[in-house]
Symmetry: C2
Subunit: 371 residues, 2 copies
């Protein structure tokens, strides 16, 4: 109930079972729960948008990682843009727009800790400026854009005249990496799935070239597009794309390792604990998938010969720089100097299928669920 | 001939054939060549010591790398300590002691470029202070010690209280890494082959522990010796040692990738160009060697989850810091604060078998050939 005693029903998407390999919509279900009455210090948040991000796949497995797994039967969590519907908290008032971690549900009651940083703890929220486009705080101005900014600048360290390559070029991370690298005077080559996305990366985001990883001539095309080799490869795909990039890396190349979407459905399966006939089958499948020539000796040897740096990072470790990011990037997004592409899906019920599609690259731009 | 017209015969070890897999003494041969007369600007160098280093294995293959392959039938090159025997060069006089790159031979005539940095170009030499122990400029005070110093400090960035692990703990790189890390207040765990080397690493070099990688319980022993995990792993072995270390790496661990001695005889074989029945057999052998589960997906995924940095380097790119290294480390070696272990082999004819042994870990300390 809000301050006026109005009752709200909270519709949630919950994890019904842990996906084996690629997730299916049937791994999710819809739950309806009554919103509890506000107590002192609490706020009622009404979700306007919530974010679907590839990293969420990892949280669907019951394994130890940098972030706890999702609980079965509970609403999936993640970044959301919410309007404060009712408040018994001095720091927030009705109508305030916040980024929260309340995720895949239409309402949430929390005892908020208000922060200037990107929220990462369950009850943390960040007020955002009222804007025509609050959904951007889930994409270009949110965690994905910030990830691109940090990884490119702090680990990639691109210099004028260098060649920067990034995958998922029309996604919220890839498109930001490409545009920031162009601003630094780099040659920027994107990688994306299909000619439509590639065209968009070049024409809208200003990439010098964008190569279709679904093409049979992908590795050859990539090589042709990088005649001076590759100095920075912003890794968010891994798998076969990594191995097409790898021989093109120049001496002293830097590889910020941000994600590995091509592995999310497989690698993690392998690491699942426990035993059951179903799990065993999934494990065997995963083992056969990896039963190929071990490339780590080639990787390690080449790292020495070419003096390569590979560095993984998780943006959650660097939230103290979110404010700097926003000060620098917000004006450029507002002025149109930095472009973005959103893939807005209307209706909370569509979140499961949209998420399954995201892991297959069926989306076109940053996937946001609009309530 | 020198200034007095005295004739010298230069005995050289030449590469007779390119080794397949592990090198054999029969891959080398001895050549005798008359030393030519000095012309203006030249010096005659008499070799006192020359260095055997694992990286030389790579140069025995005919493949493109960061350094050109050795030529068949020519003296193998590499760092040597020489005395100027005769000089027609204003910068050097008889009796000067220099580090050169003249390698596996008893004499050499060169037109020297005198540098303060570690010599890397064929005719470059560096004068060293007259010392009781000039051979140290091939080990603790030379390229290996400098490699340890640079890689540990610049890439490893060890902090007080952290755990640092290094392989080949009694070798010239590993022993320096361990001692420098101890000075920074780290817990230092070495890895070495056999109980004798492990004992030496602890008792002489002051490692907190040293684990025998030949033991069947190696991985378990290593885990036990690193109860707080590993923050810096200085990589010079690769292969199974790397995979024992890998699960113990802490969040934000740094891995300076300096060498991969366990791969030198194998990985490079695989990359050899051309076709012949013998080469084909070697390649098949190498392919079967690597036909095991590909661990790169695990590597990449863990790099993100644990935010790891892996960075390859070649000390030759950083020679401008050799002077700083020497200023800092020379006094500590002279005072006995930093210890070293040399494995001095007398007689140039023994260089081939000593080199073959080095790649198998048969040496104990820095291998130097004394003429």
């Amino acid at each position: 109930m809000d301050n006026q005693g109005k009752k709200y029903v909270n519709k949630q998407i919950v994890l019904a079972k842990r996906p084996k390999g690629a997730p299916k919509p049937s791994d999710f279900s819809v739950a309806q729960r009554e919103v509890p009455e506000l107590t002192e210090g609490q706020v009622l948040l009404k979700t306007l948008y919530f974010s679907l991000d590839p990293y969420m796949r990892g949280r669907m497995n019951e394994i130890k990682s940098y972030i706890a797994p999702f609980s079965l039967g509970e609403a999936l969590t993640g970044h959301a843009i919410c309007e404060v519907q009712a408040s018994k908290n001095a720091e927030l008032k009705s109508g305030d727009i916040v980024i929260s971690l309340t995720g895949w549900q239409t309402y949430a009651v929390i005892s908020p800790k208000v922060s200037k940083q990107m929220p990462l703890e369950p009850d943390t929220v960040t007020k955002i400026p009222t804007s025509d486009k609050p959904s951007l705080f889930l994409g270009a101005l949110g965690m994905p854009g910030f990830t691109a900014y940090y990884g490119l600048n702090q680990i990639g360290e691109p210099k004028e005249g260098e060649t920067v390559v990034v995958g998922a070029a029309t996604g919220p991370v890839g498109s930001m990496v490409g545009q920031l690298a162009k601003q630094k005077g780099c040659t920027v080559v994107g990688i994306a799935g299909g000619p439509q996305k590639c065209k968009y990366a070049v024409e809208v985001f200003g990439f010098d070239a964008c190569i279709d990883h679904k093409s049979k001539t992908f590795a050859k095309d990539l090589k042709k597009a990088c005649p001076k080799g590759i100095d920075v490869y912003f890794e968010n795909i891994a798998g076969s794309v990594f191995w097409a990039v790898f021989p093109l890396l120049n001496n002293f190349a830097r590889v910020p390792v941000c994600g590995a979407i091509s592995l999310y459905n497989d690698a993690l399966t392998l690491a699942e604990p426990g035993f059951s006939p179903g799990k065993m089958l999934a494990k065997l499948r995963a083992i056969f998938h990896f039963l190929r020539i071990d490339k780590t000796p080639v990787l390690i040897t080449s790292m020495i010969v070419k003096k390569l740096k590979l560095q993984g990072f998780i943006i959650g470790d660097h939230v103290e720089e979110y404010d700097n990011f926003l000060n620098e990037i917000l004006p450029m997004v507002n002025s149109g100097q930095i472009k973005y592409k959103e893939d807005i899906v209307k209706g909370i019920e569509k979140a499961p299928s949209a998420f399954c599609g995201l892991l297959k690259g069926a989306n076109f731009g940053k996937v946001v669920i609009e309530i």
